[in-house]
């Protein structure tokens, strides 16, 4: 094989491999994560708001509001860290608040995610016990665990249009 022929093959192999890497990093599977993950996270935020609203109103409806919403947060949080596969960030070209730092500092991201899971479990326990005294503090702790991750790994509201 001539040198130029080899070079051509090498170049073609390089191009193919680049495309393959791009394909792996932002494939349809990763893109498909974005919308459902937004929906599920929004459910969790809405659930915490619903519990907070009960506290604001000063009358706690445990069975109809607090318990089901605490359950939603706990159930969803179990899968939290599965929703952010590598390649499902802004490189997809889709509108997402997820920042590249999620994958650059993935250890820290995972740590914060697990901390949020632990708080969600505690919140659910308090809801099951109908522990009025502990509820407010645990709602705060859970919300702060959500916020800790959002502060570092999510674009601020004002940098993006409203999510729909």
């Amino acid at each position: 094989m001539s040198a130029s022929g080899f070079r051509r093959i090498a170049a073609a192999a390089f191009v193919v491999s680049v495309f393959t890497i791009l394909e792996v990093s932002a494939g349809p599977a990763e893109i498909a994560q974005i919308k459902p993950r937004q929906d599920k996270l929004r459910d969790m935020g809405g659930a915490l708001k619903a519990i907070n609203d009960e506290i604001k109103k000063g009358r706690l409806d445990w069975d109809n509001t607090i318990l089901p919403n605490a359950q939603t947060i706990k159930d969803r949080s179990v899968y939290l860290l599965n929703w952010f596969p590598k390649g499902s960030g802004p490189e997809t070209g889709k509108k997402t608040y997820a920042l590249p730092a999620i994958w650059q500092k993935n250890d820290d991201f995972q740590k914060l995610g697990k901390a949020a899971q632990a708080e969600a479990v505690k919140l659910n326990e308090i809801a099951l016990k109908k522990d009025e005294a502990g509820l407010k503090a645990q709602v705060l702790a859970t919300g702060k665990a959500c916020k800790a991750c959002h502060d570092s790994y999510r674009s601020p509201d004002y940098e993006k249009e409203n999510e729909e």
Partner: protein
Amino acid sequence: MQAALADTADLRVWDLPVRLMHWSLAIGIGVCWWSGVNNELEYHTYSGYAVLWIVLMRLYWGLVGSSTARFVNFVRGPKAILDYATTLHRRDTPHSHGHNALGAVSIVAMLGLVLAVVVMGLLAVDVDGLYSGPLSSYVTFKQGRHIAHLHYKWFNILLWVIGLHLAAVAFYFLYKRQNLVGPMISGKRQRQGDAGEAEMKVAPLWRFVIGAVIAAAIVWAVSIGFYF
């Protein structure tokens, strides 16, 4: 003796409540801006309450305050605004006593925008559903999130109007050689030539105190979402 002094002494133009409200509003908006951008939502809520109280007080003082604070004395119609605007390029125009007709537009715009942004903040929901506005229990999560984005957008408009306000102050200082900042600190400005200029009619301080208590009660009721 007193009359003779009055002829040479500085003219009072802004009373103490107006000056305090002006500077505390500037600081309050600054704190809101900083805490909002940095997602320090606990501080953001409290500074928002402070701004709400100040705006309520300014509206109240615009009805019963000293003469230069009252809306009836400085809010003008389109003709007066245009007439004033056509003299803007001239350097020899006399000092307006209190707000001029054009400045009044910016005052009303700023107060209105601050109030609008605060009201949106009361209804806004943060992404965590944690530090939401005190009235957010009256809207859904999705509505509240939408309002949070509007809250930000309208604040941006407010920043532009504040920028215009600062540019106008700089314009008066550099072009018209009129210092507007000094009187907002001292409350006084120099008399111009003849002593025929009208003195500010000062409102009694007890009237301010009554308003302060009522405004504080309103802010408190809002802060607990009217769930008494």
